[in-house]
Each structure stands twice: as structure tokens, then as C-alpha cells.
């Protein structure tokens, strides 16, 4: 019987080895310190090879794990983060991109054909364009969604406004309980039930049995529901046919309930003692503005549609703003019968007219739209509504009219209407906007500092400081440098801007003209400034040494020189900078998060020079600015985990506990043989 016991033990030990394999393997991996600097392809490959060579036996099983940055928790990553050197792979990547973009023989179209999405953002003037290349498909929008977002035990990735409550962000510490109630947030203490107790849902009444043992037993831990599809079912009765969507079905009747605003309520306006809701144009069937929809409280909107010049929303807005005021119900409103500004909180409209990013108060005399035979001036094709909600009422209602000149000949033009809400009483101009929390979110500006030190402090304290990489704008094909530019580097958006640079000489002297041109270009491209880039979308607690510095090594550039030929009246300039490239290498450091958590690992700043010949007074040439983002995130790899090393010291005679040199050896051998026979007999 002893032998059978030992055989059973052996079998059990093998079983245990298999059972605990997973657990031990997991434990070993989590105990390993995560070092961000070990992210290069080579090192990962070495690690992988080490694991393969370290396998003790053939009992391998497949586990899917990410050996890149993705495994670690965000806090772990950010605390221990260090900027890795540009890996060999990364350098190759840069070189490839750089070569493609800088190859003189590569035309724009060729580059464009290799991309999935490309659009021209301005009309082409003499091959001077602005192209967005390789646009990332999985763009995250910074616009708050209607669904409240929560991220328990994680950085609050929806908190993008510094010291201002973000709409529908349930983990934003800047929000009060009133806000959380307004956003219909779940109680953070309870958290996600699935995350807390592993239940999908509970069968028993939560209020009655919540938290009890009975509630725990009656929880549905797993569902095997089939994947669902939304199929619009039409009746099978005869005579039923598909219909075009009717506009009458969409029009709900809204009634002012004298109650405070809740999410989704229309914004109310008071006009001549009557209360209306505020609406804005929207397309119904096609791209034309044939419908109007109400502006819903806390719902961000962006609508574009085609419209005739006379039907532009700006005219409607200007009329409305003169006659109506935005109202909010207060505690007094509920009991009162008369609805006027004594019982309601009324706010007058603030109308701003914005041109090239610079906004001023609307002046009817100066900023009124007017048309000549050919052109119309002060036409707002883009209109922004901004509502500031504070202390349970709308405290400010601002309309921004982005005016421009448009041709009178156009039968239709595309207008854009945006609606924003801010839970603040101060203007957004002074609100610091983050580009992610903590990592970058696609489409938001790359955070940069032009200061010499204390970049983080400058970012949060100095409100006048520029916080993004500003680029010259392309206005009618010409390069223009402004401080109010909207042309800045946005994370994840590869872009090429081409514009014509025209040098306006301050004096007629031809001496050092080429050097003066170069200085002017440096000024235009902001090459004289040292730029520092924040590795994360939220630069809080990032020390100066962690910021990435973009410095142009001017010593390595060929010196600018030139000559003016009086006979041919031509100016020859050598080594003038005509191309500028920003290359950012980034990685998604936590794919488990609600939004992407991208970290810029390195940033590069390169220029190329060219020789130019200028005839006469025309000193102009095309300048190209490229912004490239290279994703260094590693894809998930299948790894073969080795068997665990069980540190069990069994006695030498564990499997055959019979003395080797004793006189009973023969007897024991016989006994084992008999046992085997008995077992075989039973099997038969």
C-alpha cells in the first residue's frame, strides 16, 4: 500500500505543478520592477530570448501578455518614467519618415496616395498647401460626451480643464456634489459594481438587500447572452413601407417647468415676456441647413451645414441677441406666477467678433456685415455659443462670430455652429486647458514652453505664456506669423504646411541681405526660441529635466552667404532654411485606460537648407513645415511562459523509499512487482 501512496503523491505533485503554474508565473511577472527605459526593441527581444532559453522543460503553455509599456499601472509608469534613448528602431523610423518627406522627388500626391486619409485644408495657391498626412483614425474627441465618465483607481483622464469642473467628468475633483448630481454620476464610493463585487447585476432589490449575504448569493456573476444588433423592425402587416424620416416626429414640445436646468434641458430665452427655447440650424436630410434643433443644456455640439448667404446663422443670432435674454430658473421661480427678470435669472448676450483668432466686442458700426458686388465682408461662417454655468444658473452667454470675407458669387456656403458649456464663472481665455490627463489625447495641442526654466510653473501660473508649438499660418498662400494663431501642433496629427515666404527689405542695401533673410525666417519659424515639450498631456509634477528640449544646433548648419549680381540683377543666397520638421515619438503607455494615455518619448527638430536665386525685388520662396508623430507602442506579443521553478526539496528516497543496500531489497522489488500485477489485474 505504501507504494500506491507514493505513486499517488507523485501524481499529486505533478497536478499541483500544473495548477500553480499560472499563479506563480503571474506572481513572478508582477514582482519584476517596471522600468520604462527598457523599452527598446532590442532589449525586449533579448528579454524574450532569455525567457525562451531559460525554459526548463517542454511543459510550456501560451499566455498573452504585453511586454511593452502597457502592462504597468499608470502611476507606476509616470513615477518611474525616464526618457529612453531613441532606439535603433525609432531612429530608423524617423529616418524613413524624414527621407520620404524630404525626398525632393517625392511629390505631395505620392505621399498622399500612401495614406488612408488626407484633406486639403485650404485652397491651393501656387502649390502652397496645408495637408494633414497620416491622420490617426482613432481620434479621441475632447468634446465631453453625454455619458458620464468615471475612472476609478486611475488618473482622471476626463479632467482636462485646470481648476475648472469638466462637464460629465465624475472623477474631477474640481466639481462639487451639485455637479456630480447634474452629470448623473454614480456614487464614487460604490464604484462600478462589476469591479467591486464581480457581479454583472443583482436579482434582488438592491435597496432592500444591498450589501447583504443574500444579495451576494443572488448576484449574476456571468452572462452568456448572444451579441446584440440593433435592427429596426418594421411591421409585417401589408401596406407597411419604408418612409423618409419625418421632421414632425423630431419636434418635441418643450415646456418651461420653472425648474433649474438639468442635463438635456433646452436653453431658455426670454423675449418680450414670452419664454422660448434657443435653437440652432442643423441638417435634416442632406448637408443643407433645413432643420433647427434646440440647444440642450450641457450638450456640446458641432454642426456644419450649407446655407445661403442671407440665411446665415449670424444674422439670426444678432437679431435674437438684441431681443432676448438667456434665463435660468432660481429658487424664487418655482413659487412665482409672473415670469420676468425679477423672478428669473436673466443674462444678456455678449457678442464677440473674432478675426484670425483675436476677439473683440462686437461693434455694430464697425463689424456689421456688408456686401459689394464681388465680396462680402464681416461674414461669420463659424459661430460659437459659450455658456458659463455657475452657482446653479447660467452666468454668461457669449457668442463668438468668426468673421471673414467671402465671395458674393457663392450660392451656398458652409457654416459651422458650435456650442460649448463651461462650469465656471470666468472666461475660458484664462482657463488652462490640459491636453490629456495624464497622457496625451489625440487631436489636442502638444504642450510646449518657450520659457528658459520652470516650464511647469510657467504653464500653470503665467496666463500670458504660449502653451503650444506655434507655427506660421498659411493665409492666402502666404506665411504669416501671429501670436493669436490657431495653427499649432496637435498631438497625433501629422501635418505639412507649405506657404510662400515673402521678404520685405527694410532698407535698399544689398549687403548681408541673405543673412537678413535668414534672420527673418528664424523669426517667422521661431527658431530663435528654445522650445521645451511636455512629455505628458498634464505637465503637473514634471520637473524641468523631464521636459523634452527642442534645440536647433546652429553650429552644424552651413553658414548663410550670398552675392548680388548687379549685371543680371539677381540675388544668390546659399543655405537658406526652407524646411522645418518636428518629429515626435510617442507610445501609448496605458491601453487599459478609458482614453488613450500617450507619452511623448522624444522630440526632434530639424531644418534643411537650400540655395535660392532671387530676381529683382521679388524675394520669396516656399517654406515647408512638417509635423510627424511616430507611434512606438509595441503590439501585444504572444509569449511562451516557462514552467515555474518549484523550490521543493524532497527526500532522496521519496519516489523509492526502500534502502538500496539492505537485505530486504529483493523482497521490496518483489512487492512492487506484485502491486503492479494487481493493478493490471484490476484494469483488465
Amino acid at each position: 500500500m505504501k507504494v500506491i501512496t507514493y505513486l499517488a503523491f507523485t501524481f499529486l505533485s505533478i497536478l499541483i505543478q500544473f495548477c500553480v503554474m499560472d499563479y506563480i508565473q503571474e506572481k513572478i511577472e508582477t514582482e519584476e520592477p517596471v522600468n520604462l527605459s527598457v523599452t527598446t526593441q532590442k532589449e525586449i527581444l533579448n528579454d524574450l530570448l532569455k525567457n525562451i532559453s531559460g525554459k526548463p522543460h517542454a511543459l510550456y503553455y501560451r499566455t498573452i501578455s504585453n511586454r511593452s509599456l502597457k502592462n504597468a499601472s499608470p502611476s507606476k509608469i509616470y513615477n518611474n518614467s525616464s526618457m529612453p534613448d531613441i532606439s535603433t528602431g525609432a531612429t530608423d523610423g524617423t529616418t524613413t519618415i524624414f527621407d520620404v518627406l524630404y525626398d525632393e522627388n517625392t511629390s505631395d500626391i505620392e505621399v498622399a496616395t500612401s495614406t488612408t486619409e488626407m484633406y486639403y485644408t485650404s485652397t491651393e495657391y501656387d502649390n502652397i498647401t496645408e495637408i494633414t498626412l497620416f491622420e490617426t483614425n482613432n481620434k479621441s474627441s475632447s468634446v465631453p460626451s453625454l455619458t458620464p465618465k468615471t475612472s476609478f483607481n486611475m488618473p482622471c483622464d476626463c479632467n482636462l480643464l485646470y481648476k475648472v469642473c469638466d462637464i460629465n467628468c465624475c472623477c474631477d475633483e474640481d466639481c462639487s456634489d451639485i455637479h456630480y448630481k447634474l452629470f448623473k454620476c454614480q456614487d464614487p464610493a460604490k464604484g462600478d459594481r462589476k469591479a467591486v463585487d464581480g457581479c454583472v447585476t443583482h436579482l434582488l432589490d438592491e435597496q432592500r438587500y444591498g450589501g447583504s449575504m443574500l444579495d451576494d448569493l443572488f448576484c449574476i456573476v456571468k452572462t452568456n447572452l448572444p451579441s446584440t444588433r440593433n435592427i429596426k423592425k418594421y411591421g409585417e402587416a401589408p401596406g407597411v413601407y419604408y418612409k423618409f424620416e419625418s421632421s414632425s416626429q423630431k419636434h418635441h414640445s418643450y415646456e418651461f417647468k420653472k425648474a433649474m436646468y438639468t442635463q438635456g434641458d433646452p436653453i431658455w430665452i426670454l423675449k418680450n415676456g414670452i419664454i422660448y427655447y434657443l435653437d440652432f440650424p442643423a441638417p435634416m436630410m442632406n448637408n443643407y441647413c433645413t432643420d433647427r434643433v434646440p440647444i440642450a443644456f450641457l450638450k456640446e455640439e458641432k454642426m456644419t451645414c450649407n446655407v445661403k448667404l442671407k440665411d446665415l446663422e449670424m444674422f439670426n443670432i444678432l437679431k435674437t441677441s438684441e431681443e432676448a435674454m438667456v434665463i435660468s430658473a432660481t429658487n424664487n421661480t418655482i413659487n412665482s406666477t409672473a415670469l420676468n427678470c425679477t423672478t428669473l435669472h436673466c443674462v444678456n448676450w455678449t457678442i464677440l467678433t473674432c478675426e484670425n483668432g483675436f476677439c473683440t466686442n462686437y461693434n455694430k458700426v464697425q463689424n456689421e456685415a456688408s456686401c459689394t458686388e464681388d465680396i462680402c465682408t464681416n461674414i461669420a461662417l463659424k459661430v460659437e455659443y459659450e455658456f458659463y454655468y455657475y452657482d446653479l444658473k447660467i452666468t454668461n452667454a457669449t457668442i463668438k462670430l468668426h468673421v471673414q470675407n467671402v465671395s458674393n458669387a457663392l450660392p451656398f456656403m458652409m457654416q459651422e455652429v458650435r456650442v460649448h458649456f463651461y462650469m465656471s464663472n470666468k472666461s475660458t481665455e484664462n482657463v488652462i486647458e490640459l491636453s490629456g490627463n495624464l497622457g496625451y489625447i489625440n487631436g489636442l495641442p502638444v504642450i510646449a514652453s518657450y520659457a528658459s526654466n520652470n516650464y511647469t510653473d510657467h504653464f500653470f501660473n503665467n496666463t500670458t505664456e504660449k502653451r503650444s508649438i506655434l507655427l506660421p499660418e498659411n493665409r492666402n498662400g502666404l506665411c504669416v506669423r501671429t501670436n493669436t494663431t490657431n495653427n499649432f501642433a496637435k498631438f497625433g496629427m501629422n501635418k505639412r504646411t507649405k506657404c510662400r515666404y515673402i521678404y520685405s527689405p527694410k532698407n535698399k542695401s544689398k549687403q548681408k541681405l541673405c543673412n537678413n533673410i535668414q534672420s527673418d525666417i528664424n523669426e517667422l519659424l521661431r527658431l530663435n526660441n528654445n522650445i521645451s515639450v511636455s512629455p505628458l498631456g498634464n505637465p503637473q509634477d514634471i520637473t524641468d529635466d523631464k521636459w523634452l528640449h527642442l534645440n536647433l544646433d546652429k553650429h552644424n548648419l552651413e553658414p548663410v552667404f550670398g552675392e548680388y549680381n548687379e549685371n543680371t540683377l539677381k540675388l544668390y543666397c546659399y543655405n537658406l532654411i526652407n524646411r522645418l520638421s518636428f518629429t515626435f515619438m510617442y507610445a501609448n503607455v496605458d491601453e487599459n485606460s478609458y482614453t488613450e494615455q500617450n507619452k511623448i518619448l522624444s522630440a526632434k527638430y530639424e531644418v534643411t537648407t537650400n540655395n535660392f536665386t532671387f530676381s529683382g525685388e521679388d524675394i520669396s520662396f516656399v517654406i515647408t513645415i512638417d509635423i510627424n508623430f511616430i507611434d512606438l507602442s509595441k503590439p501585444s506579443v504572444i509569449e511562451y511562459a516557462g514552467g515555474p521553478h518549484l523550490n521543493i526539496h524532497l527526500p532522496k528516497d521519496f519516489f523509492f523509499p526502500f534502502p538500496q543496500n539492505s537485505c530486504t531489497q529483493m523482497f521490496n522489488t518483489c512487492f512492487v512487482t506484485i502491486c503492479c500485477y494487481v493493478m493490471l489485474f484490476f484494469c483488465k
Binding site: 457581479c199 436579482l203 448569493l217 448576484c219 449574476i220 456573476v221 452572462t223 447572452l225 484490476f682
Partner: protein, 142 residues
């Protein structure tokens, strides 16, 4: 010459079957009650509830036959009914596994009682095999 009668019925197997018969009753009542509770509180995909009810009825039927054959064979020291009882353990265990893993909504309570049922199956299977071996070993030739 006196006739020697060997009593080969396994006491442990008999105890298990006896307990299992009661447990099956409880399992049946609880599972039906739980099914009603689930049907009221959660929505089932088309035909899922009927399918589950059908599987459950079949499972109960198989279980009843299995326990009956097991007890009959054990008490009468006959290996054939016990052998069929062992054979029926397979569809029965598959049915319980369905409710443990593949049914539409799995409750924590169901995890517990299905696991207990499987434990009964495993133990009964072991003792049933042991019983068959014992019966084969002590075959009486008269």
C-alpha cells in the same frame, strides 16, 4: 451445506445515493424557483428560457433514473443497474456543467449548488466503480 450469502452493497455508495436523492429534490425546487425569479427580473433572448427549461427537465429525469438504478443495483448487489447508473452519470454531469457554465444567467448560488451536485457525481462514480469491481471480484458460483 449452508448457503453463504455475500452482502456486497457498498454502504458509502448507498449513503451517497440516499443523500443525493434528497439533494436532487432540493436542487429541482431551487432551480425552478430561481428560473422563475430570473424570468421575472431579467430578459432572456428568444427561446433561451424554453431551451434551459427543457435541458433542466431532461437533467432531472436522467438524475432520477440514475439514482434509482444506482440504489437498486447496490442493494441487490447487481452490477448491471449500477453500470447503467455510471453511464447515466455522464449526461447528468454534462447537464449540470451546462447550468454551471453555459446557461444564460449564472448566479453565484447556482455555482455553489451545481458544484455540490458535481461532487456527488464524482464521488458516486468512484464508489460505483469500486462497487462493480467488488461485485466482479466476489462473483458467487452456485
Amino acid at each position: 451445506m449452508s448457503k453463504v450469502t455475500n452482502v456486497n452493497s457498498s454502504l458509502a455508495y448507498e449513503i451517497l445515493l440516499y443523500l443525493n436523492s434528497f439533494y436532487l429534490g432540493m436542487f429541482f425546487v431551487c432551480e425552478v424557483a430561481m428560473g422563475i425569479l430570473k424570468a421575472i427580473n431579467v430578459s432572456y433572448p428568444e427561446n433561451a428560457l424554453i431551451t434551459e427549461a427543457g435541458i433542466f427537465s431532461a437533467l432531472c429525469l436522467v438524475e432520477v433514473i440514475r439514482i434509482f438504478l444506482g440504489r437498486r443495483g447496490n442493494l441487490a448487489s447487481k452490477k448491471v443497474p449500477v453500470f447503467f447508473s455510471v453511464v447515466l452519470t455522464i449526461p447528468s454531469a454534462v447537464g449540470v456543467c451546462y447550468f454551471l457554465i453555459y446557461q444564460t444567467y449564472i448566479l453565484r448560488l447556482e455555482y455553489i449548488w451545481c458544484a455540490v451536485m458535481l461532487m456527488f457525481h464524482a464521488l458516486e462514480l468512484a464508489f460505483a466503480i469500486l462497487f462493480i469491481v467488488t461485485v466482479c471480484k466476489h462473483q458467487q458460483y452456485e
